[in-house]
Symmetry: C2
Subunit: 138 residues, 2 copies
């Protein structure tokens, strides 16, 4: 059977696109790939695309630049997303969160020695930074 | 500054955990990493974790196995997720979707030659399969 090579696009739906983009750019240094009234796409480690969608802005089919339609989608709530970090940069991340006035809501040690830091983005989405040793695959 | 190595965890919130897990396992062959009443975690290419959460099942803090609390989160709607595929497996994927009685809702050619196939999971989440040439980073 054919194979899936990975998750490329992960989406968050946000109340204020500019505010959300500033948060992820400012805290993580993610580079903008695309930005319009509906969507702000950020490069994560040049391997993934974090898609910030304006909540309610994609409930109708949207024309693709080269023709065809992108089907509708939308989301609400405070969803979860997890980013990989190196174990030896955990303290630097904790310090960087403090500098950006982001409160660590919880810190957990995984069964295989990894650490998870949990905090909120401006929309209340639950962001996790994970060092290796949380999952068997990471 | 410290770096983010990628997106490890991407979450979907679903009405029926068993139905959703069967869909992603059956269609894509994703391996189960963890399964309980609240959560079904699947390995994607042994590089990412697709977290299927029972909708409404994580609205209170959840004890982590080794102590501490995982903060609450939840989501609704039909959100978007995109998986990477090889260009030379596009036809095999279209065939596989047909075999699994999954209707392709839209097919789009990107400006740099990539192709996107869009379809729905059992909860109506908008799933995309992308070949290289959609984003500058992929």
């Amino acid at each position: 059977m054919p194979t899936i090579d990975g998750i490329i696009e992960t989406a968050l739906y946000v109340a204020d696109l500019t505010r959300a983009a500033r948060f992820y750019q400012g805290l993580f240094g993610f580079r903008t790939l695309l930005s319009d009234d509906r969507l702000h796409a950020l490069s994560v480690a040049d391997r993934h695309v974090l898609l910030l969608f304006a909540r309610g802005g994609s409930t109708r089919p949207n024309p693709a630049p080269t023709g065809g339609l992108i089907p509708p989608h939308d989301g609400s709530g405070q969803i979860h997303i997890g980013f990989a970090i190196a174990a030896d940069e955990l303290e630097q991340w904790a310090e960087r969160l403090r500098e950006h006035h982001v409160t660590i809501e919880s810190q957990i040690k995984g069964p295989r020695g990894g650490t998870s830091l949990y905090f909120r983005d401006p929309d209340g989405h639950l962001v996790e930074l994970l060092t290796p040793g949380i999952w068997t695959i990471y």
